[in-house]
Symmetry: C2
Subunit: 216 residues, 2 copies
């Protein structure tokens, strides 16, 4: 019944949330789409259009109340739901993720870290002790986490994902250097490709060098 929200809008939501959070931290109470557009370097029109996909959070003549807008975006993004996550793979990427407190401050709760390397078992990472991968099935059935963070080697990513889907996990954040796309359409995967960002940066350097050359 609801109109489907476009991917472009969804992609922009976290950015709105970051800016609004910063503005709130700065002690500001309200903001107009115009002023926000200036800060974020987008059009005011786009901001109003985007937010209105989810409801009217502003007020004519006043603008947007920061606290209300922030909590509204939190609801939209599900940051108020206390979703829980497990981390699979306690290599560098996995440990970095686990230790980074920002993730938990964004409304998520990491409840378990797993690794298949027996040497890592029991090692402390952040507030957690690494568990054996062999315990994962039971852990999931007891704790029912909503998401799994995959930070395993490329080769094992697909196998692990399939196994976890079998145990009922339906949402993945995938840091492995491979692109997961599972058949089941009730499974959601966000692939993170750090080297893509690096390649884009590289492209822009090339582009700039080309522009500098042509001195016509």
């Amino acid at each position: 019944m609801e109109k489907k929200v476009s991917a472009s809008v969804i992609n922009r939501l976290p950015r709105y949330y970051r800016y609004i959070s910063e503005i709130e931290a700065g002690g500001i109470e309200r903001i107009s789409s115009k002023e926000l557009s200036r800060r974020m370097n987008v059009t005011a029109s786009q901001i109003r259009q985007d937010l209105n996909c989810f409801g009217g959070f502003g007020q004519q003549g006043y603008g947007y109340n920061i606290k209300f807008l922030k909590s509204s975006i939190e609801k939209i993004l599900g940051l108020d739901r206390g979703y829980t996550a497990i981390l699979v793979g306690a290599g560098n990427m996995g440990r970095t993720f686990a230790i980074n407190t920002k993730f938990e401050s964004r409304g998520f709760k990491l409840i378990g870290i797993f690794d298949s390397d027996p040497k890592k078992k029991g090692v402390k990472v952040g507030n957690h002790f690494i568990k054996s991968y062999s315990e994962i099935k039971q852990f999931i059935s007891e704790n029912k986490p909503q998401m799994a963070i995959l930070a395993v080697p490329k080769e094992s990513a697909r196998g692990v994902a399939e196994e976890l889907i079998g145990y009922g996990i339906k949402a993945f954040l995938n840091f492995s250097y491979t692109e997961l796309s599972m058949a089941a359409d009730d499974v959601t995967i966000e692939n993170v490709h750090l080297s893509d960002s690096l390649m884009r940066l590289s492209y822009k350097i090339v582009e700039r060098e080309n522009n500098t050359e042509q001195v016509e």
Copy 2:
């Protein structure tokens, strides 16, 4: 003189590169846009349009030669230029980045790691020994790296960026939890926000839950 390539196309380039690399590794010699579109889950038309922004890499009746296409995309992205990078900040994120060999295999060379914490000086990370941040000015003037990877705390990100711009760095990959956007228009910044991916994933879980509820 050249038509400006749109951001959408540039964003897709690294993904093409990853797929083509995998296909090459699988020993395949040529591929049609149709077959590639099937694998990548995009339209063949889009693939042809995108590639033709940069030239005609295919051949009628044959398709695309994988080796040639791969090296062509490498040239477009500048992966063949031997760009060098320094890493600033040897915390978890920085070390993960430094150790991850995938970055170097993508045509970049990490030539120095810097941290302002005196305790970290001399500590080995991957093949590198962490240098003091106070040495960075001289290092840059001697080695002229094309890019800097920022993995410093949020609070210092802007200051560090400004300083490095002063030393001649013009391209940044920023992992700090803040969005850099410097005034100078000859400076390029790629911001990486890991928690944005997490929030998008969360949004999709909410969306699915909403869809499941309404059993009309």
